[in-house]
Symmetry: C2
Subunit: 188 residues, 2 copies
DNA sequence: CGACATATTGAGATCCATCAACCAATGTGG
DNA sequence: CCACATTGGTTGATGGATCTCAATATGTCG
């Protein structure tokens, strides 16, 4: 958990209290049920979702097949980067895998707040940096690890993914067939 | 070419001329020869390199093998992100593939300038956003394309890579063996 | 219970890596 | 200026990892 948010919390805690309160005033709590979509292909990602509980999955369609690209748990921030950044239609979906409580913040509200509090741009920069590091590492794994190694890495580094998410999605996330994952499990 | 810099140029052009001149005052021109290293593993990436001409390759070592992760051409900005962001020792190398002219800017100088010109933080944010989009796309390709498709994509989208860079490095960049690339070439 | 999603297992096909030999172009030192 | 080393690229044979397809559990929920 807490994939991105540690540095961000630290940054926020150093802002003056008025600014902090302005930030905290933006998000609204929402509750979604299993299967609900927070974002669909072709729609612009206008909101960010900070999870209070539950699980969200991000995926896109490639030749009719769902390719899972990310899972979000408590305290993670879910959004479709490219669409959020560019405010153009997304090619990704955000779907709730079980009952999930999120704090939703409007992109436009963030922009407005950045106008009056320019120091918040740095907050977005920090967030982006965290994401770059995460992406970079993930690419590294695709570059160097085989199916078994990728699975075991997940098992060690993020066991909550293995424990809470159907094998189907995990396989897709790792770029491997479900059967292969199943066989890796079986082999000790 | 111009992988990242289009939006950045636009942003810079909208700054007031004093600020623009402050930015332009930072970089110093340097010339490197084939084989030279701009960064080595274990060293902190304290500089960014904007290429005026030549080619740079970024790679890391994995079990003794070089894994190429990026090529830089004219107008690209070469640096090791993770190390540059965190100012911790890099696990990557930056190596010059042919005589290369770069404009070098010190990270500390950028930080100083950001203190006096906070609007430049947004410039860094834009840069980071471009990189996220690029990384995201690259990950997508590793997730969905086979060797042939990856090669043909490179051929279509960035022919200058194919034309100017040894097959060895291209293969590594695509996560494929050199032999496979060679066979793809031979098959029409 | 029946229906549907999820997971396992087997068999065959396929992609691609590896290893090895070989070739062509280039460069270097004697 | 030649002999030879070096670099970059090709080609062939083989094996292994993993995909695909299909059959069969196992589980869950109305």
């Amino acid at each position: 958990m807490n994939k991105y948010t540690n540095k961000l919390d630290h940054f926020i805690s150093q802002l003056n209290t008025d600014t902090q309160q302005d930030i905290m005033a933006l998000p609204k709590q929402m509750v979604y049920e299993k299967g609900d979509f927070l974002l669909k292909e072709g729609t612009i990602c206008k909101k960010s979702f900070v999870l209070e509980s539950g699980i969200i999955r991000k995926f896109y369609l490639n030749e009719g097949k769902e390719i899972t690209t990310e899972f979000y748990f408590k305290d993670d921030i879910a959004l479709s980067f490219k669409s959020y950044i560019s405010q153009e239609p997304s090619n990704e979906y955000l779907q709730v895998l079980e009952k999930t409580v999120v704090m939703v913040t409007d992109y436009d509200d963030v922009l407005k707040l950045q106008k009056t509090h320019p120091e918040l741009i740095e907050l977005e920069l920090l967030f982006m940096q965290q994401y770059v590091i995460w992406l970079d590492e993930r690419l590294f794994h695709f570059h160097t690890l085989d199916a078994k190694q990728k699975y075991q890495l997940l098992l060690n580094k993020t066991p909550h993914i293995i424990q809470n998410i159907p094998l189907n999605y995990i396989a897709s996330y790792l770029g491997v067939s479900p059967e292969t994952i199943s066989r890796i499990r079986a082999s000790k």
